[in-house]
């Protein structure tokens, strides 16, 4: 843990370096997305404010050393938009009357938790959290905030990875956690209607009793809420089989910035009447409206689940294996994940209770295949036939098939635990990219060339969806490493027509980088829509769209 003087010394040298770095070509952002002109940066107030906020590292002390520069940079360089009002006593009184004393939270300790994101990279300084109990209260809150021009951050489970769920400055947090009722469930069609604050895992448990499952599954299921999942168009481990939320969400009820309640809560599988507005809100990350109710189509729970963990010699075998899997396993293929040797090494070293399914040595690549079907014996035969075939073709060098749910979850633990292992290993620079499958691993190799021995490059992800989670691990956050990573990663992705954020969203972290994956015309239209639905810009400001738009 760095001492106070060390932190100050680092801040000072960092501030000086940042000022110098801005003018160097390597760290300049993409020209079209220059968030603030160089003139602004060099203006005294900007630098002074930047310097001041660097002096006291308010982003908290992590066990692996606080990241003084990188991730906080966006927010340290940001200035609070002066058009937003600050809270006063009248506001507090109004909210207390509206929601009751209990649901208006001003206690500093309680606020500290909701002001910080899961990765401890971002920390806001909100002074107020509101906990409405129904859509009507949300509507009145937003109506009031809109009239007073108070900025608002909608918050669900606060498990996002791009700083989209926490305030940047003193925005009012509207927490949906109290709205956690399941409204209805139709056993025949599998359509579930519930409030936005329902935790994903509790929905899974409820559906389990009925013989159904949620169409999405992610590591954060114990804390994330369905409203947040919908607002961020969460992907997860089941996307390969069940598709994205755009396909599974049948209806939404959202509250707009003006306080209007927009009822699109249909429960119909097919409804082609007019423009399908709910798709605007799915993935809008809380910037167009607050989701208050969700109607979602849930698939039946199929009893036969098989998991195989396979070793491949090189990346092209993994690709060919994906093709063969889609062909031979067909409709029962429910997940296809891959991880490289570095990821496996990290998982084995830092996760508890995890053992290597394919001892003794580490292979170059590992692939996790899961099948879900209705007939145990039939599925197992299909899977084994596919594995035998792939082994004969030389695509797999070794593999195991889990014999019961316990073994299956141990194998999944390896893949799902990699983010945790990375956090334990030290500092991590995390990137979530969509890249054409055949080129996916090229980026990992290139990053290894660029970084050499200064950092450890780890690649894993949803190979079936073309989604790479590129993580660069080093003992501590290091600017030298960072400059080698950004903006190269984004430029490379953009050049190969990939997406700089496959499933994590844009939030605060990548707001300025959106031009790497979307054309200026598209971003312009997005800004127009934002202006139409939220003229005062009070919903989740500073995020999603670049400040220049």
């Amino acid at each position: 843990m760095p001492t106070k003087t060390e932190k100050w010394r680092r801040s000072l040298s960092l501030a000086l370096r940042t000022i110098g770095a801005v003018s160097s070509p390597h760290t300049s952002p993409h020209p079209r997305s220059l968030p603030f002109t160089r003139r602004e940066l060099h203006c005294g107030r900007g630098i002074w404010r930047g310097f001041l906020s660097l002096r006291k590292p308010w982003w908290g002390t992590d066990t692996f050393g606080s990241d003084i520069r990188g991730f906080g940079t966006e927010s340290t360089m940001l200035k609070r938009n002066p058009k937003f009002s600050t809270l006063n006593d009248d506001d507090i009184r109004y909210f207390k009357e509206l929601l009751g004393e209990k649901n208006v939270v001003q206690d500093e300790d309680a606020l500290a938790a909701v002001n910080t994101d899961w990765m401890h990279k971002y920390r806001g300084s909100s002074k107020l959290m509101l906990q409405p109990r129904n859509a009507n209260e949300v509507s009145l809150i937003l109506k009031y905030c809109n009239s007073r021009c108070l900025a608002v951050v909608p918050q669900g489970g606060n498990t996002g990875l791009v700083g989209g769920s926490v305030p940047v400055f003193d925005e009012v947090i509207v927490s949906l956690g109290a709205m956690n009722n399941i409204i209805s469930f139709d056993k025949v069609s599998g359509i579930l209607v519930c409030e936005a604050g329902c935790i994903l895992e509790s929905l899974v448990n409820f559906l389990d009793q009925q013989g159904f499952i949620m169409p999405l599954d992610l590591g954060a299921k114990g804390s994330c809420q369905i409203g947040g999942n919908v607002s961020t168009n969460a992907g997860g481990l089941r996307l390969l089989l069940y598709g994205s939320l755009h396909g599974n969400v049948l209806g939404l009820e959202t509250v707009l910035a003006t306080g209007d309640v927009l009822d699109m809560l249909g429960t119909l599988r097919k409804d082609n009447t007019g423009y399908d507005l709910k798709h605007l809100f799915i993935g809008s990350e809380g910037s167009l409206g607050i989701v208050t109710k969700v109607s979602i189509l849930t698939p039946p729970k199929l009893p036969s689940v098989n998991v195989a963990f396979l070793a491949c010699h090189d990346y092209s075998s993994c690709q060919k294996l994906l093709f063969e899997a889609k062909l031979k396993l067909g409709e029962i293929l429910s997940a296809f994940e891959f991880l490289d040797e570095q990821a496996m090494d990290l998982a084995l070293n830092h996760l508890e209770g995890v053992r290597n399914p394919l001892p003794p040595s580490l292979h170059n690549f590992y692939v996790l295949i899961e099948t879900t079907g209705s007939h145990e014996t039939y599925d197992k035969e299909k899977l084994e036939a596919f594995l035998v075939y792939s082994m004969e073709l030389g695509l797999i060098s070794d593999g195991v098939v889990a014999q019961d749910l316990q073994q299956a979850s141990s194998v999944w633990r390896i893949r799902e635990g990699i983010p945790e292992a990375l956090m334990k290993a030290g500092a991590v620079y995390k990137y979530d990219l969509s890249i054409p499958v055949e080129k996916m691993y090229d980026l990992v190799d290139e990053m290894r060339n660029r970084l050499g021995s200064s950092a450890r490059v780890v690649g894993y992800g949803h190979l079936g969806d073309g989604n790479l989670h590129l993580n660069i691990s080093c003992p501590q956050y290091d600017d030298k490493v960072f400059t080698q990573i950004e903006p190269f990663v984004y430029e490379w992705t953009s050049k190969n027509r990939g997406s700089i954020s496959a499933e994590h969203g844009v939030g605060l972290m990548k707001a300025e980088k959106i031009f790497y994956s979307k054309s200026p015309g598209a971003v312009q239209l997005m800004a127009s829509i934002k202006n139409l639905l939220d003229p005062n810009g009070i919903l989740n400001p500073y995020k999603v769209l670049p400040r220049s738009s």
Partner: protein, 254 residues
């Protein structure tokens, strides 16, 4: 020396079980079934004994309806050499521990293994009786709740550490003997692909209880299966005074 392992097919350990609406038993339709976890540990131990050179062959046996052959296949995929299925009615309700023990005795007399390993209990009925009953019927020594097994070829003995309430008890058994496995004995291996492929050509022999001249008769009948009563939700108390009041007047403990 031959090692025989008895295995059972049960509802997978990780599945949340539900009672059938007619209360005759636990819902097993459309539910994932796997090898009993303690039986997996037994198979693993048998395989380790063979790999250390103290045994020449491992045979897995199971007693139950035709679907139980799946469990034998799991055993074969782990590395067992042969499988035997004794087909009879539903394993759970039809043939209790005594019935299974009698069948196992007949199989032991047929195969003549030097060691019979079973899981300490099945997670569906939690009987914890079959191993002990077989040992009694065969008049063999038994080491139950084994957390460590060490074989001595020369002296033909097995030294077994047993997990008992008071700690660990070590017993030394003359072979042939019956051992039932407890959780901490070992961690079962994954079934690797080469073994899965080899398993397809390994023999599985089928018998009926009549073939083995065992009379199968159930002495007990399951009358009803119900869920345990649901725990009542707790009451949130807002202040210390309220707590004292409740302890005094409602719970009457102070």
């Amino acid at each position: 020396m031959k090692v025989m392992v008895a295995v059972k097919r049960v509802v997978d350990y990780a599945v949340k079980i539900r009672v059938k609406p007619d209360k005759t038993g636990v819902e097993t339709k459309n539910v994932k079934m796997s090898m009993n976890p303690f039986c997996e540990i037994a198979v693993e131990e048998a395989l380790r004994i063979r790999e250390s050179g103290l045994a020449t062959e491992v045979v897995a046996v199971t007693v139950g309806p035709p679907q139980f052959v799946e469990t034998l296949r799991t055993g074969l995929a782990m590395g067992v050499d042969r499988g035997i299925l004794v087909e009879c009615g539903e394993g759970g309700g039809g043939l209790g521990p005594l019935g299974v023990a009698k069948v196992l005795r007949a199989l032991v007399e047929l195969e003549k293994p030097g060691l019979l390993i079973l899981g300490k209990q099945a997670i569906d009925d939690d009987c914890n009786q079959t191993g002990q009953m077989v040992a009694g019927l065969l008049k063999w020594p038994q080491g139950t709740f084994a957390s460590k097994v060490v074989l001595d070829k020369e002296k033909q003995t097995a030294t077994v550490d047993r997990e008992v309430d008071g700690g660990i008890e070590t017993v030394c058994l003359n072979l042939p003997a019956v051992i039932t496995t407890d959780l901490r004995l070992n961690q079962p291996r994954y079934a690797t692909l080469p073994n899965i492929m080899k398993a397809k050509s390994k023999p599985i022999k089928k018998y009926t209880p009549e073939d083995l001249k065992v009379e199968v008769r159930s002495d007990s009948e399951v009358i009803q299966v119900v869920e345990p009563p649901k725990r009542k939700a707790g009451v949130m108390i807002r202040s210390v005074d309220e707590l004292i009041d409740k302890l005094q007047n409602e719970a009457r403990v102070i």
